[in-house]
């Protein structure tokens, strides 16, 4: 039996082939179908999830090696309100077919969580592992910049509040 934390909830997988990629464990056994199968060889990024907070390819992780680890999927990226990256994706009307976009969003959100104000080169480097056959890269970049300004502004606000509290 393997137990993982998926989107904040402990989930146990019983009688599961330990060599099963996390991708298929999520899709077929955990009901998390936002993670998508595109290539199975770590080339397309459609299955991008967070492992302990870092964007990674779910097709390249085997379930047996993940006991006690923490996974975040697109379904767990937001709680009551959308993550700024998800909102920016909607506002910028990024998607065409949309199949790769959950993976794109997980990569973009992972980037901005660590680096809220990335340069163009940093955006391109962080997103180079996610393919889009529809060719929405132009809008993905715009959406990341839009989300970046929201997240940078909220970080400034948060810092300002923190400073007030310290000085009060």
């Amino acid at each position: 039996m393997t137990t993982l934390e998926i989107n904040g909830q402990n989930q146990s997988f019983e009688d599961i082939d330990p060599s099963m990629p996390l991708l298929w464990a999520l899709r077929d056994h955990a009901g998390m179908q936002g993670v998508k199968y595109g290539c199975g060889v770590g080339q397309c990024g459609a299955c991008t999830v967070w492992l302990d907070g870092f964007a990674t390819r779910a097709c390249q992780l085997t379930i047996g090696a993940l006991d006690g680890r923490s996974i975040t999927t697109i379904e767990g990226l937001s709680c009551d309100t959308l993550h700024p990256v998800q909102q920016a994706w909607i506002d910028n009307d990024v998607a065409q077919c949309g199949y790769c976009q959950a993976g794109q969003i997980m990569s973009a959100a992972s980037l901005l969580e660590r680096n809220p104000n990335p340069t163009d080169d940093e955006i391109e480097a962080a997103m180079a592992g996610n393919l889009c056959r529809c060719g929405t890269y132009v809008r993905i970049k715009s959406a990341i910049k839009a989300a970046s300004s929201v997240m940078t502004a909220s970080a400034l606000f948060y810092n300002a509040v923190q400073t007030e509290e310290v000085s009060a």
């Binding site: 179908q33 936002g34 595109g38 080339q43 009307d93 998607a95 976009q101 955006i123 592992g129």
Partner: protein
């Protein structure tokens, strides 16, 4: 939004009144609209519009959504004429039923073929709501207006939301077509605006909306292993060993249904022989394939070799081998004899795969005579009849549900994976989720055909393009007719505008299945034609833009009134707009260049300019400008997205996408050896949508063809090297 009532009524209700509606561009199939005219009040105004108790308005998009945006744009057309508040609208995929006519996604036809119908649907529903209000308030219909889902009577101040009128409206006889007023373009308040994709939130939050996500109780999972060499059949396999593997429910040989495995989307349910592995989850079936050993009978299998096909084709072109004439006009020999300048060049493109991100996957329940299919097919309309024949069940017992497709590009026009799943489901007696691996998708594609064109051009003393020859070497299974996508279309530019023309053909044997790939033929012919025109301009010492405009001329419609025909005014306008936006003629540093191309396909007049720099064999595409005239814009955001995406997709394909065939089997198998463009290689894209006032035409395809010649012409401007074969990786070039 969660509409309380939005179920569509079945088609066999005796109280449906059929209203026939015309179709402008559909080649076949009838389109009809059902509307209620009964004594029973309903929330349903017609097959496309339901107005719910909570005020939400369900509008059904009839055609498959594969990323081209039609499940937003088609409902927008209805909503415009319905005067619905877009915030009230919930877009849903229509069920697959005869009343919705030609439910397919191909040929960039969804918008043009549905345009009149969607407008009439919306305007008719609106008229019924207005008449209901007139009856309710006992006022003349002419005194009423509708906007934003509300009917108003200005003199009395009365107003009612559609939700409060729909029950009465559903009892109103369907108005005569003559009484239906449709808007003029200047009255549009929704069409031409930028509206986010109706599924944007579901996509951004990972909702299970795609074909691959379909689930039903009791389903099992299947993988289907076919002979890598097309047409090979499974004789024996180590089935007992496979069946004993953990997680495996069954394994068996499916004999298949005899081919030919050609690209026949309407009348074929042929599938190849193979081994079905059925398991309790996807991974078990994938893993079992590593243990599977199959003895293939290769006696009928393809022995294609793409290098040999190319060599034979190029030899045929070099020797001028002509086996058929496609088109002839004027006196070509005289034009070439009297020409000031002639040129002769051969262009070629390789097999390419669709490589849409979602590999084929489908859920079929065929255990009993009641059959149900959940699929992201581009041709759901053709599934029922073929499945009925395959399974020997009544068409009326087959339900097809259309789900969002993770990219189509023509790959989902054929439904063989649906038929595979149906046979497996019938055999195991349970609903089957068939999942192709990416490797299956790339191995058993209907590839874009390789193409080989020998072009010759004649320019007169006055600098005018006066003669054009094209010898096509077409891949052909029977040696007499070109395989799908391997030839040339007689109506393509510059046919019709060049007075002296000869298009001829020879055939090269190939058994490899080919099919429609985003802008079939156009996507390869544009490369050859528009590159060659730039070659002629260069040889004639003329500016490419001027030479191209001069060749196009100014005769207006080449075929009067035909939306699919070239209109020289529209062509000129896009070329002028795009060259202006790109700063055509400006001085560029050494190693940097601009390239232009124009193409008409799918009724869309599109011109593009690329700015590139070249260092050795490394090409950077900095910017691409697009000017597009596809008539009236429906959803401007969706349209611009298609234009931007077509540029990226075109560059992706041009760079290094190439399927090679050895012993009848594809060599490439996945994105590691069949690379798609990645974000760091992606250019800035600047789009201009020209409003010519014409009827809207589709945008899913026509912006792709001009990209390759624009980039290759820019490379020539930058470094003087002319690229005549795609992908450019064949000659050592790369996009960085």
């Amino acid at each position: 939004m969660n509409p309380s009532v939005n179920k569509i009524k079945s088609t066999d209700r005796r109280d449906f009144l059929k209203v026939s509606l015309g179709l402008a561009l559909s080649s076949s199939g009838s389109i009809s609209m059902m509307s209620l005219a009964s004594a029973e009040a309903s929330e349903v105004l017609n097959a496309y519009v339901g107005i719910n108790a909570d005020g939400s308005i369900t509008i059904y998009g009839p055609n498959p959504e594969v990323g081209q945006g039609v499940n937003t744009s088609l409902p927008m057309i209805v909503a415009e004429e319905l005067d619905a508040n877009w915030d009230d609208v919930v877009c849903k995929a229509a069920p697959v039923q005869q009343q919705y006519g030609m439910q397919f996604a191909g040929g960039s036809l969804s918008i043009p073929m549905r345009w009149d119908e969607m407008r009439k649907v919306g305007a008719t529903a609106r008229e019924m709501l207005l008449r209901a209000a007139a009856r309710e308030w006992n006022v003349p219909r002419e005194e009423l207006t509708a906007s934003e889902s509300v009917v108003r009577h200005s003199s009395s101040g009365k107003a009612a939301h559609y939700r409060d009128l729909v029950a009465l409206a559903s009892l109103i006889p369907v108005p005569d077509e003559a009484d239906i007023q449709m808007k003029k373009p200047e009255q549009y308040r929704l069409l031409g605006k930028r509206i986010p994709n109706a599924s944007a939130k579901d996509i951004a939050t990972g909702k299970p909306i795609f074909g691959i996500d379909a689930k039903v109780d009791g389903m099992v999972y299947a993988s289907f292993v076919k002979c890598p060499s097309i047409g090979g059949t499974a004789k024996r396999a180590n089935l007992e060993l496979i069946k004993a593997l953990p997680g495996i429910v069954d394994a068996f040989i499916l004999d298949g249904v005899p081919g030919p495995y050609n690209f026949d989307i309407r009348e074929s349910h042929a599938i190849q022989s193979g081994v079905a592995i059925v398991g309790k989850d996807t991974w078990s079936t994938f893993k079992a394939r590593e243990t599977l050993e199959v003895d293939w009978d290769l006696s009928a299998a393809s022995r294609d070799d793409s290098d040999a096909i190319e060599a034979e084709a190029l030899a045929a072109l070099a020797s001028g081998k002509v086996e058929a004439e496609i088109e002839r006009a004027g006196d070509v020999d005289a034009a070439f004899a009297h020409a000031e300048i002639t040129a002769d060049a051969t262009y070629s493109t390789d097999f390419v795969s669709h490589a849409q991100l979602e590999p084929q996957g489908v859920l079929v329940s065929a255990a009993t005579s009641n059959v149900e299919v959940w699929t992201s097919s581009q041709t759901p309309v053709f599934i029922t009849a073929n499945l009925a024949k395959l399974l020997d069940v009544a068409p009326g017992n087959i339900t097809v549900n259309q789900l969002r497709g993770g990219g189509g590009f023509g790959r989902r026009l054929s439904n063989e994976y649906v038929f595979e799943a149906a046979l497996i489901s019938r055999r195991v007696g349970a609903p089957v989720k068939l999942q192709w691996k990416r490797e299956d998708d790339m191995a058993f594609d209907y590839y874009r055909a390789p193409t080989y064109y020998r072009l010759q051009g004649a320019v007169s003393k006055s600098g005018q393009l006066v003669g054009w020859k094209n010898l096509v070497a077409a891949a052909s299974a029977d040696g007499k007719t070109a395989n799908y996508g391997a030839s040339y279309r007689p109506y393509d530019f510059p046919g019709k505008v060049v007075p002296n023309l000869a298009i001829e053909q020879s055939f090269v044997t190939s058994q490899t299945p080919t099919g429609a790939w985003r802008a079939p033929i156009s996507n390869v012919y544009a490369f050859a034609e528009q590159s060659f025109i730039a070659e002629l301009a260069d040889k004639a010492g003329q500016d490419h833009r001027d030479f191209l405009l001069n060749a196009i001329g100014d005769q207006g419609w080449i075929s009067e009134g035909d939306m699919a025909s070239l209109n020289t005014a529209r062509a000129r306008a896009t070329i002028e707009a795009v060259t202006k936006a790109a700063g055509w003629g400006r001085k560029l540093p050494e190693g940097r260049g601009l390239g232009l191309a124009f193409f008409l396909s799918h009724s869309g007049h599109i011109a593009e300019v690329a700015e590139v720099s070249v260092e050795g064999k490394k090409i950077t595409v900095h910017d691409v400008w697009v000017a597009a005239d596809v008539g009236q814009a429906v959803n401007l955001s969706g349209l611009e997205n298609q234009l931007q995406g077509s540029v990226v997709d075109g560059l992706s394909t041009l760079a290094a996408q190439r399927i090679t065939i050895k012993n009848g089997a594809a060599v490439q198998s996945n994105y590691d050896n069949y690379p798609l463009l990645r974000m760091p290689q992606s250019p800035r894209v600047h789009v201009s949508v020209l409003n010519s006032g014409y009827r809207p035409t589709g945008a899913g395809e026509p912006a792709l063809p001009p990209l390759a010649p624009a980039v290759c012409n820019a490379v020539f401007s930058a470094c003087g090297t002319r690229i005549r074969a795609l992908p450019i990786s064949k000659e050592g070039f790369s996009i960085v």
